[in-house]
Amino acid sequence: MMVKKKGLVGLGAVALTAAVVLSGCSASTGGSDDTKASGSTSSLTVWVDSERVDALKGAAAEYSEKTGIDVKLVGKDTSTIKDDFIQQVPTGKGPDIVMGAHDWLGELSTNGVVAPLELGDAAADYLPVAIDASTYEGTTYLLPYAVENIAMLRNADLVAEPATSFDDMIAKGKAAGLTQPFVVQQGAEGDPYHLYPFQTAFGAPVFGSGAEGYDPTDLQLGNAGGEQFATWLGSQGKNGTGAFNTDIDGDIAKQAFLDGTAAFWLTGPWNVGAATDAGINVAIDPIPSPTDQAAQPFAGVKGFFMSAESKNKVAATDFLVNYIGTEAVQLELFKAGNVLPALTAAAEAASEDPIIKGFETVGADAVPMPAIPAMGSVWQYWGIAEAAIINGADPVTTWQKLASDVQAAIK
């Protein structure tokens, strides 16, 4: 009697687990199953970051109604979406379309998982920086929907006027009685993305650019401007003014700004919500330059890629170019993320908001973040070199070592 009962418990466990496992499988394979089984009604599977599923529902439904093609939106975790895509596409189980960022392009293209996307004449309707970023080795792969860059957030209650230069910013903040008036996130391994505007102000981009975008053979990082930047960074670090501190990570920087102990915060649109929610009177300023040249931040472009193994390339292209590329859909996506739309007409409409306008103004100077695989080698050494300089290492030798390490890694 006892025996039978235990056997049954085991059997129940098998049934339950089998049900869970199988339902998991069927949920993930269901999409492609339909495409194959029934030829007359096609479907498109779109992987979207979970926060933007709702924003796309309208466009998806409208497209289904008009063409009879079922658009399946699958919410994915942003931290795993790229790796999942790279691994799933070769097996044929991946989606037709995936939402992502332009700096994935080098990796996606090297892995052969994305298909070129011909925007045709529609390319002229987008912001130039968005099209630049969507193009890799002369071919367009991305349908852009948003352009993102960092800018200087200013607590207008503490400092009423925008700063004209980096030193002016510190002076204005000190005049307001703050000991650390400016914060930017760093961390033990540095954060070159947030320091890049200052680096470009010294005329040291990472790569030179040619007709087909960034040229990996033309490393500009270690030029004379780079060394000047390193010297300046050292003078603003631990043994200097202390404006940069590797112990300040994203959370500490945010807290300092929200508490009002810092009046300037160099960050992106993703943090504006937290600041306004905390009741801070936020103004968006251009990034104060330490030199007389403009401080150009990196622009990150968000968009949609088409899978190289998609069985529905025609429908996917049509959906992206002719539906996602319309003002109404771009504005829907804007509402979900509050990031400047990539379509010029939508960008103009969105810029009625002063915050967005502020980011757009800064973004006019922005340069696309290089997507070439050589950039991976740069990231690997860049941050720790900058962190070392901030913490008092000799600026020029550290910078020269950075340039030679990167050069050696690119080969």
């Binding site: 009697m1 006892m2 049954l8 049934a15 790279i86 596409v89």
Partner: protein
């Protein structure tokens, strides 16, 4: 429970005869109520129904191998649970199934990947790589116009009916270059049909996507003029290709530079000077990954000190937690101590908090400029707890001591209480001092019971990824290392960095490392267990 009763019966009564055995079986079978039988049938029915559903899905996907496995496994389960005997199998079958699905499959797959070049640039099959190379090699002819097209079907062969921007209408397909036609039906400036061919509407275009993406209509007799291709069946653009694939020779030729890239068996088209066209594809590389793990000069340096630190970390973690736990267990086991119960509860509190949370809280407390420890305890000193290579290692051991000692305290308390008091009394009578009693009698007895746990704890800490990842993430970074490895990285976190960070992933190498780690841990465990057996024999 039943086994215990069986044992007792077997011990107390003489062995039953064959007839008795059969009678017992009949009685047992009869005692199974109809309710239980029904329940069994229902549950097995659920399993079978799910299997059947899975079978339909799998057959729909043409996954024959998996479908066959599902059939065999389901049949096996039915047989096991309907058979009146097979008692051990009834217990073991579910566990074995889960072991195979969740452990053995993963192990075997890791083993397989370790022998391939799977990683960035070697992601799929050769066929996919060729497709991808060819499609990205297409370059739109500069300043060429957009051509409005209608896809037409001429006796089963697809073609393009093209309306050029200047209004000329022409037709072509994969074989026939574009030529002008005069008898086309034009609607609103766009040619929509010609005689002897059907025009495809949008639904049909979608249906024949594969053929349309293959459709490339030469612009003229001269191949250098490029070909018209359409992505959406409405507008076409003029492309030239910078790559040419020779199927017979399995080579790629760059039409601009004339460089020939051939398939040399390394998983990518390679030119004579060694430059590769990426994407490549996955190939079996034999023991290459294992050889690289030990000989590649860029990996060897970090590998040596990471391995040393891994052993130091695992051994010291076990030693410190064990001795602190043992010390506290002895102290709180002393009957003279008042309120022991409450102290014991407080002692196991660190064990009760989630380890993830604890590691994150400690990493915040150890921040050099803002952390609680420097700000409050050391009055604003700037001690680089997590950023100095040596101190970061000490910090990790401290945090792991905090995380690990309650467990050791618990098991030591249990083991200590299991040692009879009269042994201590006898030793005292014989004139032994307390330290001698502990060192010569209690500790060996404790170790007999605790050594397996210490080995398990060693194996756990050897692969204690969570702590390293959350506390320092392997940092501070070693600026001289060619891979993004840090001074507190242990083997498993280094493997993670090789496989999952940066833009160049190397799953093959990471899997090879994973197997090496497995072998190390397994060897240590086996040797230690042998030693434990020897210890048991002594007593």
């Amino acid at each position: 429970m039943s086994t215990i009763t069986d044992d007792v019966e077997a011990g107390s009564t003489p062995p039953p005869t064959r007839n008795q055995k059969r009678a017992a079986r009949v009685a047992e079978a009869a005692s199974v109520g109809t309710k239980m039988l029904l329940l069994k049938i229902v549950l097995l029915g659920v399993v079978d129904a799910i299997a059947l559903y899975a079978l339909f899905v799998l057959v729909g996907h043409e996954q024959w191998l998996v479908a066959a496995i599902v059939v065999v496994v389901t049949a096996l389960f039915n047989w096991i649970y309907f058979s009146p005997r097979k008692l051990p199998a009834k217990y073991l079958a579910p566990g074995v199934l889960f072991l195979v699905v969740f452990q053995i499959f993963t192990l075997v797959y890791t083993g397989y990947v370790a022998f391939t070049n799977y990683g960035t640039g070697h992601n799929g099959t050769q066929e996919q790589a060729i497709d991808s190379l060819m499609s990205s090699a297409l370059v739109r002819v500069p300043d060429s116009a957009t051509y409005d097209v209608t896809v037409i079907d001429e006796a089963g062969q697809l073609g393009l009916l093209v309306t050029a921007p200047d209004g000329t209408v022409s037709v072509g397909n994969n074989e026939t270059p574009l030529h002008e036609v005069s008898d086309a039906t034009v609607e609103g400036g766009l040619a929509v049909a010609i005689p002897n061919a059907t025009s495809l509407d949008f639904a049909q275009v979608i249906e024949r996507t594969d053929e349309i993406t293959e459709l490339s209509v030469p612009f003229s007799e001269d191949p250098n003029d490029g070909a018209l291709r359409t992505q959406d069946g409405r507008s076409a653009y003029l492309y030239t290709s910078s790559l040419e694939y020779d199927e017979a020779a399995d080579t790629m030729t760059d039409t601009e530079t004339g460089i020939v890239y051939s398939n040399t068996g390394t998983g990518a088209f390679t030119a004579e000077d060694g430059s590769e066209l990426l994407p490549g594809w996955q190939v079996n590389v034999g023991f290459d990954n294992f050889v690289r793990a030990f000989t590649d000069s860029s990996i060897r340096g970090p590998l040596i000190y990471v391995t040393i630190w891994t052993f130091v970390f695992a051994i010291l973690s076990v030693a410190t937690t064990f001795f602190l736990g043992l010390f506290l267990a002895i102290v709180f086991n002393d009957p003279r101590m008042k309120g022991r119960k409450y102290y014991r509860v407080i002692m196991i509190l660190p064990y009760a908090f989630p380890a993830f949370l604890t590691a994150l809280v400690w990493s915040g407390m150890m921040n050099e400029s803002f952390g609680f420890i420097n700000q409050v305890i050391f009055g604003g000193a700037e001690i680089p707890w997590l950023t100095d290579p040596t101190l970061a290692k000490v910090s990790i051991l401290i945090v792991n001591l905090w995380l690990g000692f309650p467990y050791m305290f618990l098991v030591c308390t249990g083991a200590l209480q299991a040692i009879p008091e009269d042994i201590t009394e006898a030793a005292t009578v014989d004139g032994a001092r307390p330290w001698a009693i502990f060192r010569l009698i209690k500790l060996p007895l404790l170790l007999v019971t605790l050594t397996p746990l210490l080995i398990a704890s060693f194996a756990f800490n050897f692969n204690n990824f969570n702590l390293i990842y959350l506390l320092t993430n392997g940092g501070p970074r070693d600026a001289n290392a060619p891979i993004p490895v840090g001074f507190t990285d242990i083997l498993i976190s280094m493997v993670y960095k090789v496989a999952f960070t940066g833009q160049t992933r190397d799953y093959g190498l990471a899997s090879a490392f994973a197997i090496i780690i497995f072998i190390i841990v397994a060897v240590i465990a086996i040797v230690s267990f042998r030693k434990t057996k020897a210890l048991e024999d002594l007593n």
